[in-house]
Symmetry: C2
Subunit: 350 residues, 2 copies
DNA sequence: GTGATTTCCGTTTACGTTAACGGAAATTTA
DNA sequence: TAAATTTCCGTTAACGTAAACGGAAATCAC
């Protein structure tokens, strides 16, 4: 900066002002300084910058509440990992939880988050309309928003900083290939879904289901996909669902679930000693990984949800502290295929 | 630091001395300071540390020379990516190349690297004995060494900082499963290997081959694996090798290669319009990815070589600048299964 | 043309740590 | 016991940037 200042014939303070645009600088000197910066290739020293920056930032995270071993724990884990980095950059993270099954709790979480006067928001916007209301509070304050897991369809690029999601449709398509490509004779498969009562089905189910059916239509026109509902917390009832279905349809040997609860099916297979069926499931939950190792789940499709969460936080931190935005707004994670042979090397750590 | 100093009744300079142990401190005060640090939870500010640290470090990298699109370019890419981070921490990287096919060039690269008086070494130790000689020069200078890709068997944990490798045996085992599990009737498969003349076959070939054969022995005792040699730079000759082999053995429908040159086989398949064979190949080279998309390669096994390289450099940087070592010395990358449905989401970027 | 604003920019301090310097205390040597 | 070492530790000047402060120049109102 000293060199730049000398060559441009201004003070080092002015150089700072144009390099990071705060404060007022006349257009003439700004251009002169910019030219010198470019000429001698000045790059700001990020460590000095952070050191001298007295400001502290806070980010609020709005995600569903979860129990141990559930899908949202992966997201939470990714956020916690990013928090370590964030703290070194004077960024504090506060998490607000809501229930996936109660829109009012979502509204409440949003209200509380807004009251915390955050400098940035990371949100899993399960309820779209309520999200819109939240945005109408947040947007006027020019607070950057990052979406994770899903994104409201009304979100225009200028209204959010980034979206970290998963290629759901494609992963459903892939699931079909993994499940059926080895058995050209199969004419029927079944998917099990979590009961959501009156609530609209969630995005990940719909998109994956859609991708799966697209594969069938394209590659296996003779094959149909049944669908049955199971219950996350009612073990006995699920047993009956499975028993009944397979009693009626003993010829069905291919099972998929677009939820993260594949282990529920695997447990039933274990219980009944089922060995002639293949099962494709989603998400890197501990119990799914166990079932994969024990051979009940044939393939697990993982989308590094934890990593997406980490990167989502990082995007906010970069925006706030380093003032640089992601080049692409919509970032999709990879689709990882796991089986019993590579699972041991698939670690959540970085 | 000021708080710690005050509470411990010493100067801030002394706190620095015990926190980062340089300089001499009496055992008594060291313990006192350490206790206070622990008590009030003092964490050093890395930015201030780097800013005030005037020292600059240099790391030498010793890897094979490569042409565009070859395996070692992945490693190189990972190193270049890490370099960006490294530069911000005052660490400079110099690369020394050798020929995979000439041990003398390896020796020369080692000599030149040693002469550069580096603060750290990252090496792909293809020639084990020559590596031993290099170590006898480097070790007395207490220069930390990180291995990548392979590790000499004589390397004792205390003699190196870390090793970043790939689970070769397991990936060979997995390759066999991907290739054969869908076809229980297969009794024969073939692997193609790069000609290395008089040289000993390289580690990755040997280990993957071994893993593959272990799968056969265990799961498919009736199935044998043929092996044929191909030539990286002799397109016409390879055509003949393939033509001849499959003329003689038309029933063989499963092909694997443990090298990174799967695309050579794919090209032949394309040329001859072969559609009834499956091909499993390794490594995320551009040409392999093309062949995967075009359907010639059925499955590609990728081990994020680029990422391993990035982490290897990072390990050295962390050791030098932050004075913290990796908790585990031997770090293996994940085994990623790619097919035409998930390849588009498998990005080398981070 | 005077006074009041506004715009622009130079000066200065602080951020938390490192490391050179040198003085005091402890230890050894003669 | 005095001198010579050695050990230990306090002081201080960087490191590169951000931002508060305030003064000078330019612009405006009347």
């Amino acid at each position: 900066m000293e060199d730049v200042a000398r060559l441009a014939g201004v003070s080092i303070g002015t150089v700072g002002r144009v390099a990071h645009n705060h404060g007022e600088v006349s257009e003439k000197t700004r251009r002169k300084v910019l030219r010198i910066i470019d000429e001698i290739g000045y790059k700001p020293n990020i460590h000095a910058s952070i050191l001298s920056q007295k400001r502290h930032y806070s980010i609020v995270v709005i995600i569903p509440y979860f129990q141990k071993g559930e899908y949202w724990e992966l997201i939470y884990g990714g956020i916690m990992k990013a928090e370590q980095e964030a703290q070194k950059l004077n960024v504090q993270i506060k998490v607000f939880y809501y229930s996936q099954f109660e829109i009012e709790s979502f509204r409440a979480a949003c209200r509380n988050a807004a009251e915390a006067k955050p400098n940035g928001v990371l949100i899993a916007p399960i309820y779209k309309e309520a999200t819109r209301d939240f945005l109408s509070v947040i947007s006027p304050l020019a607070i950057p928003v990052v979406y994770i897991d899903s994104k409201p369809e009304f979100a225009a690029p200028k209204d959010y900083l980034a979206y970290f999601g998963m290629p759901l449709y494609e992963s459903g398509y892939l699931a079909a290939d993994l499940l059926l490509s080895a058995d050209p004779a199969a004419t029927r498969a079944v998917s099990f879904t979590i009961d959501r009562g009156e609530l609209t089905p969630n995005d990940s189910f719909v998109s994956r289901d859609c991708g799966f059916r697209a594969y069938l239509a394209e590659m296996r026109p003779g094959c149909v996909l049944d669908n049955r509902v199971i219950y996350p917390y009612d073990f006995m009832r699920n047993i009956k669902v499975f028993d009944d279905y397979f009693a009626e349809n003993p010829e069905v040997r291919h099972i998929v679930t677009f939820t993260s609860r594949g282990h529920l099916i695997a447990d039933w297979m274990e219980l009944r000693g089922v060995k002639d069926k293949t099962l494709v499931a989603f998400d890197m939950l501990g119990r799914n990984m166990e079932s994969l190792k024990s051979g009940m789940i044939t393939n697990l499709i993982a989308e590094r949800t934890d990593k997406a969460a980490t990167r989502a936080v990082k995007a906010l931190v970069d925006h706030l502290v380093l003032r640089q935005d992601p080049p692409i707004k919509d970032i999709y994670s990879s689709i990882d295929i796991l089986n019993r042979y590579n699972i041991d090397y698939y670690l959540p750590v970085e």
